[in-house]
Symmetry: C2
Subunit: 278 residues, 2 copies
């Protein structure tokens, strides 16, 4: 950052500045600690905020800086206004201060973390769930959430040392899919209890398994299916593997040890999706 940019901008500024306290609170959301403490998060950029709008995922407020907006961004701001979201024009340098990327495109959404628990989210009609164990890479977790939405999954659960569900990198990698599908962090005990209650079939992705993936299509449809994918380094933990009703592998050549976790998980989901198509 050039020293200049710390000084008040020389260009004329519009909008009511955020107060020092407001700015500090919002800026704290750029860190995981701050997000956890306030149970709020930010999402920025036209494309992500279009997705939030499309999925009716309402922010507490939308901040924008008029000087940054192109036509598409201006339309977005108008649409948020029409949706009765609190829309606030702020000075350019404040917008830059609450943005995570270098080119925030002039719009930042301020959201509350949805506080629903796994028990509340899982219902009798929930059929297809993705369980992510120790998916620590935010890019992989975001990509999995994007594929989960693309392949009609109903819920994404993270477990263990998975990346934070609503971190900026996960939101970006999901291409906004986090706004279109329910996500929740849970413990293995909660998952086990739930699967017992609903008779959910737990399917584990396991390199040493012998069942080829295509068998997924024959899994009984009356019950829900939960697909479990593990970390690239270690795969699924022993407890999840031991708790699985089915272990399946994605056939590939022996030239590689394994597939990327997001690729493997996406293939499992696609298989289930294809089975559900008429």
């Amino acid at each position: 950052m050039r020293i200049d940019s710390l000084k008040p901008s020389s260009q004329k500024e519009y909008g009511l500045p955020l107060s020092k306290a407001e700015l500090q609170d919002i800026r704290s959301l750029l860190t995981r600690k701050g997000r956890n403490r306030r149970r709020e998060f930010l999402a920025e950029g036209v494309r992500l905020l279009e997705e939030a709008l499309r999925h009716h995922y309402r922010p507490m407020a939308l901040y924008f800086s008029a000087g940054h907006l192109n036509e598409r961004a201006q339309k977005l701001v108008d649409a948020y206004r029409r949706a009765r979201v609190e829309v606030r024009e702020i000075p350019a340098r404040q917008l830059e201060a609450i943005a995570d990327t270098k080119t925030p495109q002039g719009v930042v959404g301020h959201f509350a973390v949805p506080e629903a628990t796994l028990e509340e989210l899982y219902r009798a009609e929930t059929r297809r769930v993705l369980l992510c164990e120790n998916i620590g890479d935010p890019g992989n977790l975001g990509t999995l959430i994007r594929s989960a939405l693309a392949f009609d999954m109903h819920l994404v659960i993270t477990m263990g040392a998975s990346a934070e569900l609503l971190s900026p990198k996960v939101i970006r990698s999901s291409a906004g899919a986090v706004f279109g599908i329910a996500t929740v962090h849970a413990t293995w005990n909660e998952v086990v209890k739930l699967n017992r209650t609903f008779g959910t079939v737990l399917v584990a992705s396991d390199l040493s398994a012998h069942e080829p993936l295509e068998r997924l299509r024959f899994v009984a449809k009356e019950k829900g299916v939960m697909l479990a994918v593990g970390s690239e380094a270690a795969g699924l933990s022993e407890q999840v593997l031991a708790g699985a009703d089915l272990r399946m592998r994605i056939g590939h050549s022996r030239a590689v040890e394994s597939l990327n976790a997001a690729v493997a998980g996406s293939m499992l989901m696609r298989e289930l999706y294809q089975e559900s198509q008429p």
Copy 2:
């Protein structure tokens, strides 16, 4: 980096130091400019260098620092010695200076960029090629190369504004698969000329296409197949779409606009792989 670490390490150091000029040359490979000028690259860490060894992708030299090595790394160094690679023990602080990551695990390989052209790499018996157009994200490109090796592709071509094939991030995301499959950067004109010569079927991944992916299985096997995947932002360019013999889409719900490029490309490759299995 703490100031301390710039001073000679207080721990006893073994190994013959690299000369100042050698160190400078090797360090220049940490930048794209340096790699392009010298046509050399580095790969570090036990796992990646195990993959290089397994695929007989010989480095010009292997540098290690004894103090950093665990048992697995020590075994690796011994294996490289047995393979008659020049193995050089260097002081810890020099190893850290030529490493790209904070925890280089004590081993860095120094490789020459393979200079084969597309024309040299493509042979009459080449059957399955992945064409990556404008895959700018190194994580996506690395993941695609990993899947290409997993699904028995014979060659990966990058085109346009794709990420640099042998950058540290691509090598890491590929989990070392770059050492197991031929990769080359080429122009569209070169690709077109080649496909004409060999009668290769060009298959484009295209959201607006109507052919479902499963049709790939019925593409004539006598000819080679080239699968083209484009950038997430823009998809494939008009010229590639216009040049395609087949355009196929991966069916998914309308809740997302598109899949991650590495996921989509991997699914295309898996489909082709399944078709080739007995």
